[in-house]
Symmetry: C2
């Protein structure tokens, strides 16, 4: 539960090769061949804008919507990052609208789960798709969240189903910027 800062640097080298870089909504990210990921206990500073790299940063944190029964289901089903067979990944940063952030906690939970089934509908993709959510809104970053997904090549179709399911929800009508990066682990 201790906050851990993670920096995703798009650039010329890194453990992951970027195979797709798609601006789903709003401004995209510059095309780069590779992604490097680093972690540390302090805030990753923004770099001066560069033609040959960009960086995103976020922090793992406590849950904001998950309730006790859901936490138990998630803990039982979810897989960790770093599995040997999970050589495919996706990095999906999103920013939600001011209207979303002006909502109260119960209104956001209602849209996220009661209407959009974000938590319960995602359970069926576990443990095949492993994921980690990073928060970045309160760090003054351009995105509000970054989600990192890892899966084996044979679960690529299942992963597309997960992404399509989330994008069709009422919750996603509050997403005003989204970029979708797909990656392969460098052998």
């Amino acid at each position: 539960m201790t906050p851990m800062f993670t920096t995703f640097r798009g650039g010329q080298s890194g453990a992951w090769r970027i195979t797709l870089n798609s601006a789903v909504r709003g401004e995209g990210l510059a095309a780069m061949p590779a992604l490097a990921i680093t972690q540390g206990p302090s805030i990753a500073l923004p770099l001066v804008a560069s033609a040959t790299s960009w960086r995103l940063a976020g922090v793992t944190s406590h849950v904001r919507y998950v309730e006790k029964a859901e936490a138990e289901q998630l803990a039982e089903k979810q897989a960790p990052l770093g599995r040997r067979q999970a050589t495919y990944a996706a990095l999906i940063p999103i920013r939600k609208s001011a209207a979303w952030w002006a909502l109260s906690q119960d209104e956001r939970r209602e849209i996220l789960e009661a209407k959009s089934h974000h938590i319960s509908a995602s359970l069926k993709f576990l443990p095949q798709v492993a994921r980690q959510l990073y928060h970045c809104r309160d760090l003054g970053e351009p995105f509000d969240f970054i989600t990192w997904f890892e899966y084996a090549p044979e679960h690529a179709t299942m992963f597309e189903e997960l992404v399509a399911m989330l994008r069709a929800t009422e919750e996603w009508t509050f997403v005003e910027r989204e970029v979708d990066l797909r990656l392969k682990l460098v052998e």
Copy 2:
């Protein structure tokens, strides 16, 4: 709703004179004569530890527990910071335990409001006591929250009642570090 970073610097000069510096639980903060407050759209960096100053930093953010009906009551009753008559202030940074942060959203809400009445019981101190909550846990800071309170000298007794009420709650059993600074506006 846009995150705004605020830095509180204890040192030799500033608009507020520190009249009391009390370590309520855990490690305190070094005695300093004055407090300066600055705001900006980016993260305030930690300084190298100094014998003549310290700094705390936090970010205003969206609500984490307040529900719609409560938000409406708060909006109706609360006063803004910076009122001419509010020449007394308190700066109370706290850190909660790992056990708190491991709880799910519904468990934290249950303790905070259903059992501790943090939101509803605080309403009776509005608008006399104005306040602003700053989040700092996810910035990698030593405290999780900083609350800034402002009130007129004639409401000092009422303010003590508010502080005593909160410290007697079940929620406060999760507080593992708390410092209480009282201040007067420099004429």
